[in-house]
Subunit: 323 residues, 2 copies
């Protein structure tokens, strides 16, 4: 059995946290030979609920769990952390403008970036789930000066999986037959789910579907899927977001056998401004994330890559005093 | 890859269902080589919420999922089912007596027993999670005349795991060191978590703890744990109950490497009245559940076995017109 690793989850008593922790504890994220210590951060008003979550974790008698630490202190939560899932974020309240939302979350992710810098393992892997995830991730990594930017990522695998599922449904094929799809840019309504390089059962996706459907139905459906879930469920997607976060960390740690999508710091690939956190097609091996640099994008794609890039630049401008 | 199996979950849009489905879909219940079709039953007012759950399942692009069928019709939900998890039940409302609760659930489980009898696979395995689970299970199996009683079980693994966790905590040992503990009788405040045969790290549990603690703290804590969770969380245990249900079905199907606890039809072992659904220490092999008949119980144990037996006989009397 391996040595235990420390996994920090913020917003641990929230809906996504609740859907995530039991799967992490059972070994779904890092494998059933990897013992874990769970370090759970919440804000003080949520500590009672978090205590209930900890009791339920205890009540599962998970063989892999070596400890559970509920706390409202970032220095305790991030101490020695090998994996950090930043789930907790300020949701948009009534009358809040986008700028207010960026600002409110900016304060949270500035503090958490600093705390990760000061307390986490030097090889920590960080995933930002809390929205606006790309820009929150940018703030966190800019405030963790002693760590490498490529230790920080933001989540777009949920969008990636939504795109796979919708393309599979439209072509009447199973999801496992879809390959090489990518979600580019911001985790927001400007994200671009690209099918130019995608295949279904070995055939180019764009030969199997109408371009009009792709442009007018597929892309907006993926961009608006979150809102559609809220309308049906009456609350936002929690279990599918938790599933995506687990998959993101599993692929990053244990490797991927096909292309997926992750928000990472741009190094200028595909002419995306260096330094912003942007979702690219990637694959993972031995704990490293590699961009798929092999794609030839047409004008339709490039234009959409730029739209979502512009939004990320505007977001960066709005919080530039925090960087 | 194996042929897909059909898994029915009732109350699929409820909290336990929501905590359970994504783990079943990812392969945690039956293994990552077992494709599944999920057949999800809800009452008509919950069909919108269920639609949201189905969208989220789709959004995970689970490789093992071969189909998801949301329905409010039992004949659709149970059609060809290989595994049935009866999670949905009527909760106790304001002013409801225990007898009213038994009656309200009696109607549900009578209908579901009949529908399982008429539509499910002839080798179906049924787990009742919805409370009062033992008596609901009795009603279901009595209404499934063409199936064997041992195809019906009720859940006490949650109590079993709670007992393991508390004993491990008290002795300062890891949960994986606890063996041979058992929970007997009804899933209610009369259940009896027995430590006479239990060991921790190879040593008899009762040599490691004070008998007074066992009688006055341990037993009541396990019996009242559900209520304690509700006080902390503000809602009842969902993720830990879902975890237990998954474990119950996994052990039943794939085998257990140590003793666990399950509610099964009594054949008179340990002098428990034949025909009632009673939790015994069991192990599982090749899809069969075997009672551990090796225990020597002392007067302290026998008395407690009888208390919880009497409660089950009273419950049976209250719904005998449904049998």
């Amino acid at each position: 059995m391996k040595e235990p690793v420390r996994i920090t989850v913020t917003g641990a008593a929230g809906q996504i946290g609740y859907a995530m922790l039991f799967r992490i504890a059972s070994g779904e994220m890092l494998g059933i030979d990897q013992p874990v210590v769970l370090q759970l951060l919440e804000i003080p008003p949520a500590m009672d609920a978090l205590r209930g979550v900890v009791m339920e974790l205890q009540d599962c008698a998970f063989p892999l769990v070596r400890g559970v630490v509920p706390t409202s202190k970032p220095e305790e939560a991030f101490e020695g952390a090998d994996f950090v899932l930043l789930v907790g974020a300020r949701p948009r309240g009534p009358g809040m403008e986008r700028k207010d939302l960026l600002e409110a979350n900016g304060a949270i992710f500035t503090g958490q970036g600093k705390a990760i810098n000061d307390y986490a393992s030097r090889s920590v892997k960080v995933l930002v789930v809390g929205n606006p995830a790309n820009t929150n991730c940018l703030i966190a990594l800019q405030n963790a000066k002693d760590l490498q930017p490529d230790q920080f990522t933001s989540m777009t695998i949920l969008d990636h999986n939504r795109a796979i599922a919708l393309l599979a449904e439209q072509t009447g094929m199973h999801v496992a037959k879809v390959r090489n799809l990518a979600v580019w840019g911001n985790h927001s309504a400007t994200m671009f789910p690209e099918l130019l390089s995608a295949t279904v059962g070995g055939k180019p996706a764009l030969e199997l579907i109408e371009f009009d459907w792709y442009r007018d139905k597929f892309i907006p459906s993926i961009q608006q899927r979150g809102a559609e879930i809220i309308r049906a469920r009456g609350s936002s997607s929690a279990a599918s977001a938790a599933n995506a976060a687990i998959e993101h960390m599993r692929l990053w740690s244990l490797g991927s056998d096909s292309v997926t999508s992750m928000g990472i710091v741009s190094r200028g690939d595909y002419d995306i401004t260096e330094g912003i956190v942007y979702s690219f097609p990637v694959s993972c091996e031995a704990g490293k994330i590699e961009i798929d640099r092999s794609r030839s994008l047409d004008d339709f794609c490039v234009e959409r890559l730029q739209v979502t890039e512009r939004e990320l630049l505007e977001e960066r401008d709005a919080i530039k005093h925090l960087l």
